[in-house]
Symmetry: C2
Subunit: 333 residues, 2 copies
DNA sequence: CTGTTAGCGCCTTCAC
DNA sequence: GTGAAGGCGCTAACAG
């Protein structure tokens, strides 16, 4: 494995100084065309490629971003990642993708490793960290964008989903369809978005003078399996329930499965509303009524926000809110 | 933004040399316990964190890998990425995730950028590059693992899916069920795996003395939409076809939709077999019969292979083959 | 327009 | 056990 071609090699071969080569490589002006031509020719001939590492050390910029998600296998985050990568690529940045598996230890570990890698910024999705832990973890980063989490600190932007509104919209939709006993498959207990959606649910129920039974609300892991078990439990113990507001589409699909197993028809016996509108939603039977979240755009806007701050051209915008849109399909017409 | 704490700061504060600090940080032996203790204490107090960049420049190792996929929003690759990241994380590596969008220009561009970032290795999925282009693109990388592509070069490993076998298995399954007019929704024309699956299909058909009509084979983009249109076209012009072998599950779901639109029952009028067994497969109606590909394992094994070579402990294994398993569900019993 | 001088923060190789 | 010098490959800040 021959020694790497360095800038010094090019400089020597072209009879110029390091700086001249550097200027040509970085397309800075102030180089005569003939010289530039010659340098370029040598670069080509020697197959020289600048070392990103060395450049990063000198400039203190790496051209990399960190994207931290709970689980890239979850379609919500894989699409978000896609949107993020799209903008990053356009702007010449690369993205480190990290999964936390919903574990706070691992979240801290990946944030640490991203800091060690000296990324220029971080996008952190659905952090499970407490306020102070979170603050400490991102304190040394140049800039951070939180997805669906807020922290009123300098240098920390947010891209929010209006979860409370989703919770309200979903519940209202069922109310209008005549449902009274509406259950809530609330997702993980420590999920902030879950808490906000639950608040929306409660607001609407109260406004309608309905007091949800404690048993109507069940927490569960945000997966198909989790939704299935939770729905099973809820519907078995509370047969009066005729509708379910679900934490996300995976949970809703789980509910669909549970209903099928219990011989309950959807939406005949039980109406189901999901959240997110992942691909799955319109492909299952019955197709899911759900709150569509612009996952791709959230990813791309988060990067946009991050890059604006990195490049210093403050737009003043530190927060951005996405409001989900109710998509009515067969599971809750 | 205060100046970063450096090794020199720690050294000064602890009254030792840079080297001593370095040794403590890297847990090298040859440091007396009291000194080490003192250094650690200062590191803690000052909040010192080693600079990954500087270390990389000195060691020529970055502790990063590149993962190149066509589209992370595609569940096949998002799960593969998950598996890859899992092993990488365990071994202390970070992963750059890059999407090519199936464009060769972009594939070359991201490979270039990964080289510039000096990743320690690359995993490249379903490259659309020609043999020589590919060879050139990965020539300067320490080691590369190709997913579902082979290149008999030094320093290039492969994790293959036995696509030909899948094509055979799927076709055979339909043949055994009594189908004779079996169509093929073959995916993108330039997909190597598509070509191999098609070969498997042809082999089995020939062995059964069946000559597929040219119109029974239609290429399409590997998405739901693509499968739907292709199935529409195929079934409209060739009503004699009673079964479809599909490039992947998304295409198969598209076929399901087309059948529904055309008033054809599945599997009654048309049997459908997918490929990959993504989550979707068992959740659509009817549930898809499909060839399960161990996506997560492919990702994790690819990284394993990569890391073995990087760390030099050659196991001799440069290639690994995954054979898909037929999962029989309702769409083709 | 081009070159020189200093680092960026750490590790390797040798001395002591 | 510990330290001093030199270098990894590049760029910023000044000269000329």
């Amino acid at each position: 494995m021959g020694r790497r071609v360095t800038m010094a090699d090019v400089a020597r071969e072209a009879n110029v100084s390091l700086m001249t080569v550097s200027r040509v490589v970085n397309r800075k002006e102030g180089i005569s065309e003939p010289t530039a031509q010659r340098v370029r020719e040598v670069i080509e001939r020697l197959g020289y490629r600048p070392s990103g590492i060395a450049r990063s050390l000198a400039t203190r910029r790496t051209g990399t971003l960190g994207l931290v998600v709970p689980d890239n296998a979850n379609s919500f985050f894989s699409v978000l990642a896609r949107g993020a990568e799209h903008v990053a690529y356009q702007e010449g940045y690369s993205i480190f993708l990290c999964n936390t598996e919903e574990e706070t230890d691992r979240e801290l570990a990946v944030l640490q490793s991203l800091e060690d890698k000296e990324v220029d910024g971080i996008i952190l999705c659905s952090s499970r960290l407490g306020k102070d832990e979170l603050r400490g973890a991102v304190a040394h980063l140049p800039f951070t964008v939180l997805v669906n989490r807020r922290l009123d600190d300098e240098g920390i932007g947010s891209v929010m989903i209006d979860d409370e509104h989703s919770g309200q919209t979903a519940t209202q939709h069922l109310l209008k369809a005549g449902h009274r006993a509406i259950g809530l498959l609330a997702g993980p207990l420590n999920s902030y978005s879950g808490q906000r959606r639950a608040r929306g649910y409660h607001t609407v129920m109260q406004a309608a003078n309905l007091e949800p039974d404690l048993g109507w609300i069940v927490n569960c892991p945000p997966k198909v399996e989790g939704g299935m078990q939770a729905a099973h439990k809820l519907l078995a113990t509370h047969p009066e329930v005729t509708a379910l507001v679900c934490y996300n589409d995976l949970v809703a699909v789980g509910a669909l499965k549970a209903c099928a197993q219990m011989g309950l028809s959807v939406p005949g016996d039980v109406a189901v509303v999901g959240h997110d509108d992942i691909e799955l939603a319109e492909l299952v039977t019955p197709a899911l009524t759900t709150c569509r979240v612009a996952r791709y755009e959230i990813g791309s806007q988060a990067v946009q926000l991050l890059l604006e701050h990195i490049s210093g051209c403050q737009t003043g915008c530190e927060e951005m809110v996405f409001r989900p849109e109710l998509i009515v399909r067969a599971s809750a017409p």
